[in-house]
Amino acid sequence: MVERNAMLRRSSHGLGGRLRSWAIAAGAAGALMLGTADHQANAAKDDRLVIAIEMDFNSLDPARTFCIACQIFMTGVYETVVEIGPDNKEIKPGLAKSWDVSDDQTRFTFHLDPAARFADGSPVEAKDVKWSWERLHNVKGGAAYLADAIATVEAPDPQTVIATLAAPNSEFLGILTAVNLAVVNSDVASEHGASAAADADKTDTAETWLLENSAGSGPYILAGYKPNEELRLTRNEKYWGKKAAFKEVVFQHVPNPVAQAQMLESGAADIAMNVDAESATKIHSADVVVRPVSAFNIVHLSLYPLGDEHLRDKRVRQAISYALDYQGIIDATLGGKGDRLVAPIPNGFPGTSGLKPAEHDPEKAKQLLKEAGLADGLKLLAKYPDIKPFGVDLSIMMQKIQQDFAEVGITLDLEPLPINVWREQRNAKKVAVTPMWFASDYYGSGQAVPFFGMVEGSWHANFAGISEIPDLANKRLPDLYAKALASTGPEQEKLFAEVFEEMMSDVIILPLMSPKQTLTYRKNVTGMHYSVCCNLILPELSLQ
């Protein structure tokens, strides 16, 4: 027994000693290998710009794109006839060096810059503008509605484009800064299956080709694209304007905001597009700039009367509006890094100055509920997607709203859903209370009514049940809106202010906040600013 045990139990020195030697050797080899990388040297190279971003590309076809990464991509590769200035208000020349607007705001004549060239060297002509705008409308992609204002486009000569609108619209120039209205090389695109014909939604086959090629006039050209991995742009050496600062721009797909922040700190990325306010607090490097800026996005609460009979009574909706602790909601979800809103349109847009935000007044809320015969309270169901638009955790927000409702006697049951399921239920008009979000396509208050207004054809009015409950329609709004669009300057400000007061009085859309955008980038990157049309404008970026 002793002998057997002795044989079984060998000295550990022999085996243990060898193991120790191997461990030391492996550790040394690993340290040698990993320690030789010089990432700061890589970060110092100024010929490549690396953007860490959650790549949400749905397409690279200008007529079909509708995502954040798409907008940034488009600014580098395609150009619009006019551009938005750094103040997000001023309209600057783009492909057009000048323009004329008729007094009644229906006819816009653009004079193209004769120096403008596509990446293949061919001139940008009026026919390309006409073709691109018609294609956007006819392909019926995600942004086709942007071309709805245009009735006809004429190209009387290669340098002149005349757009005639269906109705007066003084914000048309602002609409044209939206990236989807960029100009595409019609000859090249048509060779590869693109069509601007009326049946383009059935006959256009260029989308696949456009995943690997671009046909724009911008300072960059598409070099390669791998979905959810990376997208590369190379400098357009034949660019007709100021040469691009970078030889290459790389969009690197990094879905996790903390990983993006780490890449910034280590120098592996120059810009991180999805670092939210909370993740940004973990960045300590002196080489990284963290800059919260006001953005043109909004988060709001929708009350759809079709989803619950109680909501058909305006007093109940008004009570809900008074019940909300708006600043408390911003504090709970964004740590205070958000702005109160005065209307269902970003602050600073025409008509918003001088308006007051909705009040938080629980006593008034209770009074209104009493007048509506609901002194004992009521029960409502909120359905919402479990996501974080613009950094706002909707679950936390709805829990805060639930608390606010409870204070005035409203029991709010919460039902978080996967976003696709929630969307299906909302589209089927089975939702009464839900949070939603909105990102502006351009600087202009004209976006508000077709989206939020209680008028026929409005997006939210459909879910609210305007067809089923005709009383929901705001009869003043259509005329007021048309007048506001037809006017300019102070008159337009005054009219849009009235438009927003009408919309707020409907208490269907309750604007909650405009989350600040946290810009995070290496300190040697210049030209960083948040753009209303495009989030980030690539041609403006360079390194010090």
């Binding site: 085996l15 995943l211 690197q252 990094v254 996790n256 903390v258 990983a259 990325a269």
Partner: protein
């Protein structure tokens, strides 16, 4: 053995058809519409745009018709076009498979070798410090959430120590090697690009360690238990009596016999990692099939979901087959039977 192989191969198409059918029915049962990925939220209110998109993607056809078209295309090797990426699903998967295989193979190499080593160590030094430490290490790897360990290691190695540059397969400031196999390591070797090779290794190391660590636990536990059972047997005593060194006793005699139960786990771990390494892929921005699967599921990208399911099914069938084959090779008693 040959008969077993042939039987398995003949059964594979039917198995895959069953998997595809089930996946098809389940994905269509979800009460949601993939149209938003095609035309966006705003256009969902335009009946013309909706009708056009439905016709373009075949979503206006009945479910049985969609199924028949899908299977007919599948037989021809066409997995359809991804609603989300707008590219052939087969191409998407082929683009991502090398990344997944590269990560999985590296993770398995680390996990299996560490698991075996720790299992042997634990058994050899049973109830002593080495055993406790090895088991604790393995347990932590299996228990700690991957997204946490991944982010912590990434922070330490990338931000604090500067050993790795960050997420992804390669530093974005480097151009990928000319694609031959899709494996960055192999392609860099073929192109003799030392810079890219070193960078690819650097980027592979952390996610492979994190993922490998997750499988170490189960492998080492199995090996330990199996080793303890085998080391108590008479043939081990005989081996020692004949003067065999401790290393030879452990590896040549004990481990070979103790390995069999671990083979099953190794096989299934490999198959699972092919499509299941989603969290690691997310943290490290690794463009593999796992993250593709999640993005496809979120977008209700039916063709892509079916494609990923096929790959996953194939992976498990193959893993199962290879495991059985390895049993035959490892155990002469099964061969003889």
């Amino acid at each position: 053995m040959m008969r077993m192989l042939v039987r398995r191969l003949l059964a594979t198409p039917m198995l895959l058809l069953g998997i595809v059918t089930l996946s098809f029915l389940l994905s269509r049962a979800v009460p949601a519409d993939p149209l938003v990925s095609i035309i966006g939220e705003r256009q969902l209110g335009d009946p013309e745009a909706v009708a056009s998109a439905q016709a373009r993607w075949g979503l206006d056809r009945s479910i049985p018709e969609q199924y028949a078209i899908y299977v007919a295309n599948l037989v021809r090797g066409d997995l359809g076009t991804s609603i989300r990426t707008k590219r052939p699903v087969a191409r998407d998967l082929m683009d991502r498979l090398p990344a997944t295989l590269e990560l999985t193979l590296a993770a398995m190499a680390i996990g299996v070798s560490a698991g075996l080593a720790l299992g042997v160590l634990s058994a050899r030094f049973k109830d002593r410090a080495a055993d406790h430490l090895a088991r604790a290490f393995a347990l932590i790897g299996s228990s700690v959430p991957i997204f946490w360990s991944g982010l912590i290691l990434l922070h330490l190695a990338s931000v604090r120590l500067g050993w790795v540059s960050g997420a992804g397969r390669l530093d974005a400031r480097l151009s990928p090697p000319p694609e031959v196999t899709g494996f960055h390591l192999l392609d860099a070797l073929i192109a003799r690009d030392v810079t890219v090779l070193a960078d690819a290794l650097e980027h592979l190391a952390l996610p492979a360690i994190v993922l490998g660590w997750a499988v170490v636990g189960i492998i080492s536990r199995l090996v330990r238990a199996s080793m303890l059972d085998v080391m108590g047997q008479d043939f081990i005593l005989m081996a020692r009596a004949k003067g065999a060194s401790e290393m030879r006793v452990l590896t040549h005699h004990a481990l070979r016999n103790a390995l069999l139960p671990a083979l099953t786990v190794i096989g299934f771990s490999f198959a699972y990692l092919i499509t299941g390494a989603v969290l690691t892929e997310t943290v490290f921005a690794w463009p593999g099939i796992g993250s593709y699967a999640v993005a496809s599921a979120r977008a209700l990208d039916y063709p892509a979901i079916m494609g990923v399911t096929l790959i996953a099914g194939l992976a498990f069938i193959l893993a199962n087959l290879l495991t059985d084959l390895s049993y035959l090779l490892a155990n002469p008693r099964i061969r003889a039977a």
